[in-house]
Protein backbone atom coordinates (compact mmCIF):
# COMPACT_ATOMS: atom_id res chain seq x y z
CA UNK A 1 0.00 0.00 0.00
CA UNK A 2 2.83 2.34 0.87
CA UNK A 3 4.44 1.47 -2.42
CA UNK A 4 1.29 2.28 -4.34
CA UNK A 5 0.88 5.57 -2.58
CA UNK A 6 4.33 6.58 -3.75
CA UNK A 7 3.54 6.07 -7.41
CA UNK A 8 1.89 8.37 -9.87
CA UNK A 9 -1.21 7.52 -11.81
CA UNK A 10 0.64 6.76 -15.00
CA UNK A 11 3.12 4.49 -13.27
CA UNK A 12 0.39 2.51 -11.59
CA UNK A 13 -0.65 0.95 -14.84
CA UNK A 14 2.84 -0.01 -15.87
CA UNK A 15 4.20 -3.47 -15.38
CA UNK A 16 3.77 -4.46 -11.79
CA UNK A 17 6.69 -4.19 -9.46
CA UNK A 18 7.43 -3.41 -5.88
CA UNK A 19 10.16 -0.88 -6.47
CA UNK A 20 9.49 2.77 -6.02
CA UNK A 21 11.00 4.61 -8.98
CA UNK A 22 10.30 8.04 -7.80
CA UNK A 23 8.57 8.97 -4.65
CA UNK A 24 5.49 10.62 -6.09
CA UNK A 25 5.03 12.90 -3.16
CA UNK A 26 2.27 14.83 -4.81
CA UNK A 27 -0.11 12.12 -3.65
CA UNK A 28 0.76 13.05 -0.11
CA UNK A 29 1.03 16.77 -0.44
CA UNK A 30 -2.27 16.89 -2.29
CA UNK A 31 -3.92 15.39 0.71
CA UNK A 32 -2.05 17.06 3.50
CA UNK A 33 -2.72 20.50 2.05
CA UNK A 34 -6.37 19.70 1.48
CA UNK A 35 -8.23 21.33 4.33
CA UNK A 36 -11.19 19.01 3.82
CA UNK A 37 -9.01 16.06 4.62
CA UNK A 38 -7.53 17.67 7.65
CA UNK A 39 -11.12 18.22 8.77
CA UNK A 40 -11.91 14.53 8.24
CA UNK A 41 -8.80 13.58 10.16
CA UNK A 42 -9.80 15.87 13.01
CA UNK A 43 -13.31 14.39 13.13
CA UNK A 44 -11.90 10.89 13.20
CA UNK A 45 -9.58 11.72 16.06
CA UNK A 46 -12.35 13.31 18.11
CA UNK A 47 -14.87 10.56 17.42
CA UNK A 48 -12.49 7.68 18.03
CA UNK A 49 -11.00 9.18 21.18
CA UNK A 50 -14.27 10.22 22.80
CA UNK A 51 -15.88 6.93 21.90
CA UNK A 52 -12.98 4.93 23.30
CA UNK A 53 -13.07 6.88 26.57
CA UNK A 54 -16.83 6.65 26.89
CA UNK A 55 -16.89 2.97 26.11
CA UNK A 56 -14.10 2.15 28.52
CA UNK A 57 -15.73 3.99 31.40
CA UNK A 58 -19.16 2.50 30.75
CA UNK A 59 -17.75 -0.98 30.31
CA UNK A 60 -15.77 -0.69 33.52
CA UNK A 61 -18.86 0.26 35.47
CA UNK A 62 -20.96 -2.39 33.79
CA UNK A 63 -18.55 -5.25 34.26
CA UNK A 64 -17.86 -4.20 37.82
CA UNK A 65 -21.56 -4.33 38.51
CA UNK A 66 -21.97 -7.67 36.74
CA UNK A 67 -19.05 -9.12 38.64
CA UNK A 68 -19.68 -7.87 42.18
CA UNK A 69 -23.43 -7.78 42.54
CA UNK A 70 -25.81 -10.68 42.35
CA UNK A 71 -28.08 -9.12 39.77
CA UNK A 72 -31.05 -11.06 38.51
CA UNK A 73 -30.24 -12.54 35.12
CA UNK A 74 -26.70 -11.16 35.05
CA UNK A 75 -25.58 -13.97 32.80
CA UNK A 76 -28.31 -13.21 30.30
CA UNK A 77 -27.70 -9.50 30.45
CA UNK A 78 -24.05 -10.15 29.73
CA UNK A 79 -24.86 -12.25 26.70
CA UNK A 80 -27.47 -9.77 25.53
CA UNK A 81 -25.00 -6.90 25.55
CA UNK A 82 -22.76 -8.96 23.30
CA UNK A 83 -25.46 -9.83 20.77
CA UNK A 84 -25.54 -6.14 19.89
CA UNK A 85 -22.31 -6.62 18.01
CA UNK A 86 -23.65 -9.42 15.85
CA UNK A 87 -26.17 -7.63 13.66
CA UNK A 88 -25.38 -7.41 9.93
CA UNK A 89 -24.99 -3.66 9.59
CA UNK A 90 -26.61 -2.96 6.22
CA UNK A 91 -30.28 -3.14 7.20
CA UNK A 92 -29.81 -1.42 10.52
CA UNK A 93 -28.73 1.67 8.69
CA UNK A 94 -32.34 2.39 7.82
CA UNK A 95 -33.66 2.71 11.39
CA UNK A 96 -30.45 4.41 12.44
CA UNK A 97 -30.87 6.93 9.66
CA UNK A 98 -34.44 7.57 10.78
CA UNK A 99 -33.32 7.80 14.38
CA UNK A 100 -30.62 10.29 13.51
CA UNK A 101 -32.84 12.43 11.34
CA UNK A 102 -36.36 12.13 12.70
CA UNK A 103 -36.83 10.28 15.95
CA UNK A 104 -34.48 12.34 18.07
CA UNK A 105 -35.16 15.83 17.02
CA UNK A 106 -35.07 18.94 19.10
CA UNK A 107 -36.18 21.88 17.02
CA UNK A 108 -33.86 21.88 14.05
CA UNK A 109 -31.19 19.88 15.80
CA UNK A 110 -30.72 16.23 14.96
CA UNK A 111 -27.97 13.71 15.50
CA UNK A 112 -27.37 13.52 11.76
CA UNK A 113 -23.95 14.74 10.73
CA UNK A 114 -22.78 15.31 14.29
CA UNK A 115 -19.75 13.86 15.99
CA UNK A 116 -21.88 13.23 19.06
CA UNK A 117 -24.08 10.94 17.03
CA UNK A 118 -21.17 8.82 15.90
CA UNK A 119 -19.64 8.73 19.37
CA UNK A 120 -22.88 7.33 20.78
CA UNK A 121 -23.52 5.02 17.86
CA UNK A 122 -20.12 3.34 17.94
CA UNK A 123 -21.02 2.07 21.41
CA UNK A 124 -23.17 -0.48 19.64
CA UNK A 125 -20.16 -2.52 18.60
CA UNK A 126 -17.47 -1.26 20.98
CA UNK A 127 -19.37 -1.61 24.23
CA UNK A 128 -20.11 -5.34 23.79
CA UNK A 129 -16.52 -5.97 22.85
CA UNK A 130 -15.19 -4.01 25.83
CA UNK A 131 -17.54 -5.71 28.25
CA UNK A 132 -16.43 -9.06 26.89
CA UNK A 133 -12.74 -8.25 27.38
CA UNK A 134 -13.11 -6.53 30.73
CA UNK A 135 -15.42 -9.09 32.27
CA UNK A 136 -12.72 -11.71 32.70
CA UNK A 137 -10.36 -9.17 34.07
CA UNK A 138 -12.63 -7.77 36.74
CA UNK A 139 -13.69 -11.29 37.71
CA UNK A 140 -9.99 -12.03 38.13
CA UNK A 141 -9.48 -9.40 40.80
CA UNK A 142 -10.09 -11.19 44.10
CA UNK A 143 -13.27 -10.09 45.90
CA UNK A 144 -11.33 -10.26 49.16
CA UNK A 145 -9.54 -7.05 48.21
CA UNK A 146 -12.87 -5.25 47.93
CA UNK A 147 -14.04 -6.66 51.18
CA UNK A 148 -10.87 -5.72 53.02
CA UNK A 149 -11.22 -2.18 51.73
CA UNK A 150 -14.84 -2.08 52.79
CA UNK A 151 -13.92 -3.13 56.27
CA UNK A 152 -11.54 -0.18 56.29
CA UNK A 153 -14.54 2.00 55.52
CA UNK A 154 -13.99 2.67 51.82
CA UNK A 155 -17.05 3.38 49.69
CA UNK A 156 -17.73 1.90 46.28
CA UNK A 157 -16.19 4.89 44.51
CA UNK A 158 -13.07 4.58 46.60
CA UNK A 159 -12.80 0.87 45.86
CA UNK A 160 -13.08 1.54 42.16
CA UNK A 161 -10.41 4.21 42.24
CA UNK A 162 -7.97 2.57 44.62
CA UNK A 163 -8.31 -1.11 43.76
CA UNK A 164 -10.16 -1.92 40.58
CA UNK A 165 -8.80 0.71 38.22
CA UNK A 166 -5.11 0.22 39.09
CA UNK A 167 -5.39 -3.55 38.96
CA UNK A 168 -7.39 -3.55 35.74
CA UNK A 169 -5.27 -0.85 34.11
CA UNK A 170 -3.77 -3.06 31.40
CA UNK A 171 -7.19 -4.36 30.50
CA UNK A 172 -8.65 -0.89 30.42
CA UNK A 173 -5.82 0.20 28.19
CA UNK A 174 -6.36 -2.55 25.68
CA UNK A 175 -10.10 -2.01 25.70
CA UNK A 176 -9.59 1.64 24.98
CA UNK A 177 -7.02 0.97 22.28
CA UNK A 178 -8.98 -1.63 20.38
CA UNK A 179 -12.17 0.39 20.68
CA UNK A 180 -10.27 3.36 19.37
CA UNK A 181 -9.09 1.37 16.37
CA UNK A 182 -12.53 -0.06 15.63
CA UNK A 183 -14.04 3.40 15.79
CA UNK A 184 -11.26 4.91 13.70
CA UNK A 185 -11.73 2.31 10.97
CA UNK A 186 -15.52 2.21 10.85
CA UNK A 187 -16.95 3.06 7.45
CA UNK A 188 -20.58 2.15 6.78
CA UNK A 189 -22.24 4.00 9.66
CA UNK A 190 -20.09 7.06 9.18
CA UNK A 191 -20.81 7.16 5.46
CA UNK A 192 -24.57 7.03 5.94
CA UNK A 193 -24.98 9.17 9.02
CA UNK A 194 -22.69 12.06 8.31
CA UNK A 195 -22.71 14.59 5.52
CA UNK A 196 -20.29 17.47 5.63
CA UNK A 197 -19.39 18.46 9.15
CA UNK A 198 -18.74 15.15 10.86
CA UNK A 199 -17.29 13.10 8.00
CA UNK A 200 -14.50 10.79 9.01
CA UNK A 201 -11.34 9.81 7.22
CA UNK A 202 -12.56 6.38 6.12
CA UNK A 203 -15.46 7.94 4.26
CA UNK A 204 -12.91 10.24 2.66
CA UNK A 205 -11.13 7.10 1.52
CA UNK A 206 -14.24 5.96 -0.31
CA UNK A 207 -14.56 9.31 -2.03
CA UNK A 208 -11.48 8.45 -4.02
CA UNK A 209 -13.39 5.74 -5.80
CA UNK A 210 -14.63 8.22 -8.36
CA UNK A 211 -16.02 7.82 -11.81
CA UNK A 212 -13.10 9.16 -13.74
CA UNK A 213 -10.39 6.77 -12.78
CA UNK A 214 -10.22 5.49 -9.27
CA UNK A 215 -7.47 7.54 -7.82
CA UNK A 216 -5.50 4.61 -6.44
CA UNK A 217 -2.36 6.59 -5.77
CA UNK A 218 -4.02 9.19 -3.60
CA UNK A 219 -6.31 6.61 -2.09
CA UNK A 220 -3.35 4.56 -0.96
CA UNK A 221 -1.75 7.72 0.39
CA UNK A 222 -4.86 8.42 2.45
CA UNK A 223 -4.89 4.83 3.63
CA UNK A 224 -1.27 5.15 4.66
CA UNK A 225 -1.96 8.39 6.45
CA UNK A 226 -4.89 6.88 8.32
CA UNK A 227 -2.59 4.13 9.43
CA UNK A 228 -0.03 6.39 11.06
CA UNK A 229 -2.02 7.36 14.18
CA UNK A 230 -2.96 3.74 14.77
CA UNK A 231 0.65 2.70 14.34
CA UNK A 232 1.91 5.31 16.74
CA UNK A 233 -0.70 4.16 19.17
CA UNK A 234 0.09 0.51 18.90
CA UNK A 235 3.86 0.73 19.24
CA UNK A 236 3.31 2.96 22.23
CA UNK A 237 1.08 0.56 24.04
CA UNK A 238 2.26 -2.78 22.75
CA UNK A 239 3.21 -3.77 26.27
CA UNK A 240 -0.24 -3.09 27.58
CA UNK A 241 -1.89 -5.12 24.91
CA UNK A 242 -0.10 -8.27 25.92
CA UNK A 243 -0.59 -7.53 29.59
CA UNK A 244 -4.20 -6.64 29.09
CA UNK A 245 -5.05 -9.73 27.18
CA UNK A 246 -3.18 -11.84 29.66
CA UNK A 247 -5.47 -10.66 32.38
CA UNK A 248 -8.57 -10.73 30.27
CA UNK A 249 -8.45 -14.02 28.52
CA UNK A 250 -7.22 -16.34 31.20
CA UNK A 251 -8.04 -15.90 34.78
CA UNK A 252 -7.07 -18.21 37.48
Amino acid sequence: MIVISARSRVELFDRPNFIIHSFFEENYTNIIYDSTFRGYMFNSVIVATCNALLVTILALLATYALSRWRLTGADNIFFWTITNRMAPPAVFLLPLFLMFTKWFKIGDWTLFDTRTGLILLYCVFNLPFSIWVLQGMIDGIPVELDEAAMVDGAGTGMILRRIIIPLAAPGLAITAILSWIFAWNEYLFAATLTSVHARTITTGLAEFVTVTGTNWGEMAAVATLTLIPSLAFISFVQRYIVMGLTFGAVKE
Binding site: L12, L71, T81, C123, L127, I241, V242, V250
Partner: protein, 292 residues
Protein backbone atom coordinates in the same frame (compact mmCIF):
# COMPACT_ATOMS: atom_id res chain seq x y z
CA UNK B 1 -23.88 -9.19 49.08
CA UNK B 2 -24.05 -5.45 48.55
CA UNK B 3 -27.12 -3.47 47.77
CA UNK B 4 -28.38 -4.35 44.31
CA UNK B 5 -29.41 -0.81 43.59
CA UNK B 6 -25.85 0.43 43.24
CA UNK B 7 -25.12 -2.43 40.87
CA UNK B 8 -28.01 -1.52 38.63
CA UNK B 9 -26.97 2.12 38.68
CA UNK B 10 -23.53 1.14 37.44
CA UNK B 11 -24.98 -1.09 34.77
CA UNK B 12 -27.73 1.18 33.57
CA UNK B 13 -25.77 3.65 31.40
CA UNK B 14 -24.48 0.80 29.28
CA UNK B 15 -27.89 -0.80 29.08
CA UNK B 16 -29.57 2.45 28.14
CA UNK B 17 -27.12 3.26 25.37
CA UNK B 18 -27.25 -0.26 23.98
CA UNK B 19 -31.01 -0.16 24.15
CA UNK B 20 -31.13 3.03 22.13
CA UNK B 21 -28.54 2.28 19.47
CA UNK B 22 -29.01 -1.48 19.45
CA UNK B 23 -32.53 -2.43 20.46
CA UNK B 24 -34.60 0.37 18.96
CA UNK B 25 -33.27 -0.33 15.47
CA UNK B 26 -33.75 -4.03 16.14
CA UNK B 27 -37.43 -3.59 17.00
CA UNK B 28 -37.91 -1.42 13.96
CA UNK B 29 -36.31 -4.07 11.74
CA UNK B 30 -38.52 -6.71 13.32
CA UNK B 31 -41.54 -4.59 12.47
CA UNK B 32 -40.42 -3.94 8.89
CA UNK B 33 -39.77 -7.67 8.42
CA UNK B 34 -43.53 -8.26 8.43
CA UNK B 35 -44.09 -5.86 5.56
CA UNK B 36 -43.68 -5.72 1.86
CA UNK B 37 -41.68 -2.57 1.38
CA UNK B 38 -39.79 -1.80 -1.76
CA UNK B 39 -39.34 1.89 -2.37
CA UNK B 40 -39.75 1.52 -6.13
CA UNK B 41 -42.74 -0.78 -6.33
CA UNK B 42 -45.95 0.39 -7.95
CA UNK B 43 -47.75 0.65 -4.64
CA UNK B 44 -45.73 2.89 -2.39
CA UNK B 45 -45.03 2.39 1.27
CA UNK B 46 -45.41 -0.52 3.64
CA UNK B 47 -47.88 -3.31 3.01
CA UNK B 48 -48.49 -5.89 5.67
CA UNK B 49 -47.56 -9.30 4.38
CA UNK B 50 -47.33 -11.42 7.51
CA UNK B 51 -44.66 -14.06 7.30
CA UNK B 52 -44.35 -13.91 3.51
CA UNK B 53 -40.83 -12.53 3.62
CA UNK B 54 -39.70 -15.41 5.79
CA UNK B 55 -41.50 -17.95 3.66
CA UNK B 56 -39.78 -16.59 0.59
CA UNK B 57 -36.45 -16.62 2.40
CA UNK B 58 -36.50 -20.32 3.17
CA UNK B 59 -36.69 -21.08 -0.55
CA UNK B 60 -34.33 -18.33 -1.64
CA UNK B 61 -31.48 -20.19 -3.32
CA UNK B 62 -29.25 -17.12 -3.41
CA UNK B 63 -29.62 -16.51 0.29
CA UNK B 64 -29.02 -20.13 1.25
CA UNK B 65 -25.98 -20.23 -0.98
CA UNK B 66 -24.59 -17.07 0.54
CA UNK B 67 -25.19 -18.46 4.03
CA UNK B 68 -23.36 -21.64 3.15
CA UNK B 69 -20.49 -19.65 1.65
CA UNK B 70 -20.29 -17.43 4.69
CA UNK B 71 -20.04 -20.39 7.03
CA UNK B 72 -17.38 -21.94 4.85
CA UNK B 73 -15.53 -18.66 4.74
CA UNK B 74 -15.72 -18.12 8.49
CA UNK B 75 -14.74 -21.71 9.25
CA UNK B 76 -11.66 -21.73 7.03
CA UNK B 77 -10.59 -18.23 7.99
CA UNK B 78 -10.88 -18.87 11.73
CA UNK B 79 -9.21 -22.26 11.49
CA UNK B 80 -6.17 -20.80 9.74
CA UNK B 81 -6.11 -17.84 12.07
CA UNK B 82 -5.98 -20.17 15.05
CA UNK B 83 -3.21 -22.31 13.58
CA UNK B 84 -1.04 -19.43 12.42
CA UNK B 85 -1.90 -17.37 15.48
CA UNK B 86 -0.88 -20.21 17.77
CA UNK B 87 2.38 -20.67 15.91
CA UNK B 88 3.21 -16.96 15.99
CA UNK B 89 2.26 -16.71 19.65
CA UNK B 90 4.67 -19.52 20.46
CA UNK B 91 7.34 -17.66 18.54
CA UNK B 92 6.63 -14.44 20.38
CA UNK B 93 6.65 -16.23 23.72
CA UNK B 94 10.33 -17.03 23.32
CA UNK B 95 13.05 -14.46 22.80
CA UNK B 96 14.68 -13.87 19.46
CA UNK B 97 16.53 -10.90 17.97
CA UNK B 98 14.25 -8.22 16.60
CA UNK B 99 11.27 -9.53 18.49
CA UNK B 100 9.87 -6.20 19.57
CA UNK B 101 10.07 -4.87 16.01
CA UNK B 102 8.42 -7.97 14.66
CA UNK B 103 5.68 -7.69 17.24
CA UNK B 104 4.83 -4.20 16.07
CA UNK B 105 5.07 -5.00 12.38
CA UNK B 106 2.93 -8.07 12.61
CA UNK B 107 0.07 -6.12 14.20
CA UNK B 108 -0.05 -3.58 11.37
CA UNK B 109 -2.84 -5.32 9.41
CA UNK B 110 -5.04 -5.05 12.47
CA UNK B 111 -4.76 -1.28 12.35
CA UNK B 112 -5.81 -0.83 8.73
CA UNK B 113 -9.38 0.08 8.00
CA UNK B 114 -11.24 -2.87 6.42
CA UNK B 115 -12.06 -0.68 3.45
CA UNK B 116 -8.38 0.06 2.90
CA UNK B 117 -7.52 -3.61 3.33
CA UNK B 118 -9.94 -4.44 0.53
CA UNK B 119 -8.59 -1.69 -1.69
CA UNK B 120 -4.99 -2.73 -1.13
CA UNK B 121 -5.71 -6.35 -1.87
CA UNK B 122 -7.61 -5.37 -4.94
CA UNK B 123 -4.64 -3.47 -6.24
CA UNK B 124 -2.33 -6.36 -5.45
CA UNK B 125 -4.48 -8.93 -7.17
CA UNK B 126 -5.91 -7.18 -10.23
CA UNK B 127 -5.19 -9.61 -13.08
CA UNK B 128 -2.59 -8.28 -15.46
CA UNK B 129 -1.71 -5.29 -13.33
CA UNK B 130 -1.28 -6.41 -9.74
CA UNK B 131 2.07 -7.81 -8.65
CA UNK B 132 0.58 -11.02 -7.22
CA UNK B 133 -0.77 -12.48 -10.48
CA UNK B 134 2.30 -11.16 -12.31
CA UNK B 135 4.82 -12.99 -10.14
CA UNK B 136 2.68 -16.08 -9.73
CA UNK B 137 2.63 -16.37 -13.49
CA UNK B 138 6.30 -15.56 -13.99
CA UNK B 139 7.73 -17.74 -11.22
CA UNK B 140 5.25 -20.56 -10.93
CA UNK B 141 3.41 -20.38 -14.19
CA UNK B 142 0.22 -20.21 -12.19
CA UNK B 143 -2.71 -18.55 -13.89
CA UNK B 144 -4.28 -16.45 -11.17
CA UNK B 145 -7.45 -14.56 -12.11
CA UNK B 146 -9.38 -13.57 -9.07
CA UNK B 147 -12.15 -11.97 -11.09
CA UNK B 148 -12.82 -14.96 -13.32
CA UNK B 149 -12.14 -17.99 -11.15
CA UNK B 150 -14.60 -18.64 -8.33
CA UNK B 151 -12.33 -20.85 -6.22
CA UNK B 152 -9.45 -18.46 -6.44
CA UNK B 153 -11.68 -15.58 -5.43
CA UNK B 154 -13.02 -17.49 -2.45
CA UNK B 155 -9.57 -18.42 -1.23
CA UNK B 156 -8.27 -14.93 -1.78
CA UNK B 157 -10.93 -13.56 0.55
CA UNK B 158 -10.04 -16.22 3.10
CA UNK B 159 -6.35 -15.36 2.86
CA UNK B 160 -7.16 -11.67 3.11
CA UNK B 161 -9.18 -12.25 6.26
CA UNK B 162 -6.41 -14.40 7.70
CA UNK B 163 -3.88 -11.70 6.89
CA UNK B 164 -6.06 -9.04 8.47
CA UNK B 165 -7.12 -10.77 11.66
CA UNK B 166 -4.40 -13.28 12.55
CA UNK B 167 -2.55 -10.63 14.60
CA UNK B 168 -5.59 -10.35 16.81
CA UNK B 169 -5.63 -14.09 17.37
CA UNK B 170 -1.88 -14.10 17.97
CA UNK B 171 -2.25 -11.50 20.66
CA UNK B 172 -4.98 -13.35 22.52
CA UNK B 173 -3.13 -16.64 22.13
CA UNK B 174 0.04 -15.05 23.42
CA UNK B 175 -1.85 -13.76 26.40
CA UNK B 176 -3.14 -17.25 27.04
CA UNK B 177 0.25 -18.88 26.64
CA UNK B 178 2.05 -16.45 28.90
CA UNK B 179 -0.30 -17.04 31.76
CA UNK B 180 -0.34 -20.84 31.49
CA UNK B 181 0.82 -22.54 34.67
CA UNK B 182 4.00 -24.50 33.96
CA UNK B 183 3.63 -27.28 36.56
CA UNK B 184 1.07 -29.49 34.79
CA UNK B 185 3.21 -29.62 31.68
CA UNK B 186 6.38 -30.40 33.57
CA UNK B 187 4.55 -32.98 35.60
CA UNK B 188 3.27 -34.66 32.48
CA UNK B 189 6.75 -34.76 30.96
CA UNK B 190 8.10 -36.29 34.14
CA UNK B 191 5.37 -38.90 33.92
CA UNK B 192 6.73 -39.94 30.55
CA UNK B 193 4.34 -38.25 28.12
CA UNK B 194 5.77 -37.18 24.78
CA UNK B 195 5.49 -33.62 23.49
CA UNK B 196 2.44 -34.34 21.36
CA UNK B 197 0.64 -35.94 24.28
CA UNK B 198 1.47 -33.01 26.52
CA UNK B 199 0.13 -30.65 23.92
CA UNK B 200 -3.04 -32.64 23.33
CA UNK B 201 -3.95 -33.68 26.86
CA UNK B 202 -2.54 -30.88 28.98
CA UNK B 203 -1.83 -27.70 27.08
CA UNK B 204 -4.84 -27.66 24.80
CA UNK B 205 -7.43 -28.13 27.56
CA UNK B 206 -5.77 -25.35 29.52
CA UNK B 207 -5.87 -23.09 26.48
CA UNK B 208 -9.46 -23.93 25.63
CA UNK B 209 -11.06 -20.91 27.29
CA UNK B 210 -8.77 -18.58 25.37
CA UNK B 211 -9.37 -20.39 22.11
CA UNK B 212 -13.11 -20.35 22.57
CA UNK B 213 -13.16 -16.65 23.50
CA UNK B 214 -11.11 -15.83 20.45
CA UNK B 215 -13.30 -17.90 18.19
CA UNK B 216 -16.33 -16.21 19.71
CA UNK B 217 -15.16 -12.72 18.83
CA UNK B 218 -13.84 -13.68 15.41
CA UNK B 219 -16.99 -15.62 14.51
CA UNK B 220 -19.18 -12.65 15.32
CA UNK B 221 -17.16 -10.42 13.04
CA UNK B 222 -16.48 -12.91 10.25
CA UNK B 223 -20.19 -13.61 9.83
CA UNK B 224 -20.88 -9.97 9.12
CA UNK B 225 -17.88 -9.09 6.98
CA UNK B 226 -18.73 -6.53 4.32
CA UNK B 227 -16.21 -3.78 3.65
CA UNK B 228 -13.17 -5.79 2.63
CA UNK B 229 -14.94 -8.21 0.32
CA UNK B 230 -17.03 -5.48 -1.20
CA UNK B 231 -13.89 -3.62 -2.16
CA UNK B 232 -12.01 -6.70 -3.34
CA UNK B 233 -14.49 -8.64 -5.46
CA UNK B 234 -17.88 -7.00 -5.04
CA UNK B 235 -19.18 -10.51 -4.36
CA UNK B 236 -18.04 -11.90 -7.71
CA UNK B 237 -17.17 -13.62 -9.86
CA UNK B 238 -20.71 -14.83 -10.21
CA UNK B 239 -21.78 -15.13 -6.59
CA UNK B 240 -18.60 -16.83 -5.41
CA UNK B 241 -17.84 -14.38 -2.63
CA UNK B 242 -21.28 -12.96 -2.02
CA UNK B 243 -21.29 -13.49 1.72
CA UNK B 244 -24.40 -12.86 3.77
CA UNK B 245 -23.36 -9.39 4.88
CA UNK B 246 -22.78 -8.41 1.27
CA UNK B 247 -25.92 -10.19 0.10
CA UNK B 248 -28.03 -8.18 2.51
CA UNK B 249 -26.20 -5.05 1.52
CA UNK B 250 -27.19 -5.72 -2.10
CA UNK B 251 -30.83 -6.28 -1.16
CA UNK B 252 -31.22 -3.06 0.77
CA UNK B 253 -28.89 -0.65 -1.01
CA UNK B 254 -29.35 -0.96 -4.73
CA UNK B 255 -32.58 -2.98 -4.67
CA UNK B 256 -34.16 -0.95 -1.84
CA UNK B 257 -36.10 -4.05 -0.85
CA UNK B 258 -36.35 -3.03 2.80
CA UNK B 259 -38.93 -5.54 3.97
CA UNK B 260 -37.18 -8.55 2.56
CA UNK B 261 -33.80 -7.20 3.62
CA UNK B 262 -35.08 -6.86 7.18
CA UNK B 263 -36.28 -10.45 7.22
CA UNK B 264 -32.98 -11.68 5.81
CA UNK B 265 -31.08 -9.71 8.41
CA UNK B 266 -33.14 -11.02 11.26
CA UNK B 267 -32.73 -14.61 10.20
CA UNK B 268 -28.99 -14.12 9.84
CA UNK B 269 -28.81 -12.41 13.22
CA UNK B 270 -30.84 -15.19 14.82
CA UNK B 271 -28.53 -17.73 13.29
CA UNK B 272 -25.45 -15.89 14.56
CA UNK B 273 -26.91 -15.63 18.05
CA UNK B 274 -27.66 -19.34 18.19
CA UNK B 275 -24.15 -20.22 17.08
CA UNK B 276 -22.69 -17.78 19.58
CA UNK B 277 -24.93 -19.02 22.35
CA UNK B 278 -23.67 -22.55 21.85
CA UNK B 279 -20.11 -21.30 22.02
CA UNK B 280 -20.92 -19.12 24.99
CA UNK B 281 -22.38 -21.94 27.03
CA UNK B 282 -19.29 -23.97 26.18
CA UNK B 283 -17.14 -21.14 27.49
CA UNK B 284 -19.38 -20.75 30.51
CA UNK B 285 -18.87 -24.38 31.41
CA UNK B 286 -15.15 -23.92 31.00
CA UNK B 287 -15.20 -20.89 33.25
CA UNK B 288 -17.26 -22.54 35.91
CA UNK B 289 -15.30 -25.75 35.59
CA UNK B 290 -12.07 -23.82 36.00
CA UNK B 291 -13.32 -21.92 39.02
CA UNK B 292 -14.45 -24.82 41.13
Amino acid sequence: MRQNRTGWIFLSPSLIILFIVGMLPFFYIMYVGFFDWNVFSVSRGLHYSGLDNYRRLVFDKDFLKSLELTIKFAAYAILFQLLIGYFLANMLAIDFPGKSIFRIIHTIPLMIAPLAVGATWRLLTIPGLGPVPFYLDRWLGFDYRISANADQAFWTTVIMDVWHWTPFVTLTMLAGLVSLPQEPMEQALVDGANRLQVFWYVKLPLLRPVILSTVFIRLMDALRTVDEVWMLTGGGPGAATRYTGLHIWRIVFPKTDYGYGAATSLLTLYFTIVLSWLLYTAIGQQRRGGAS
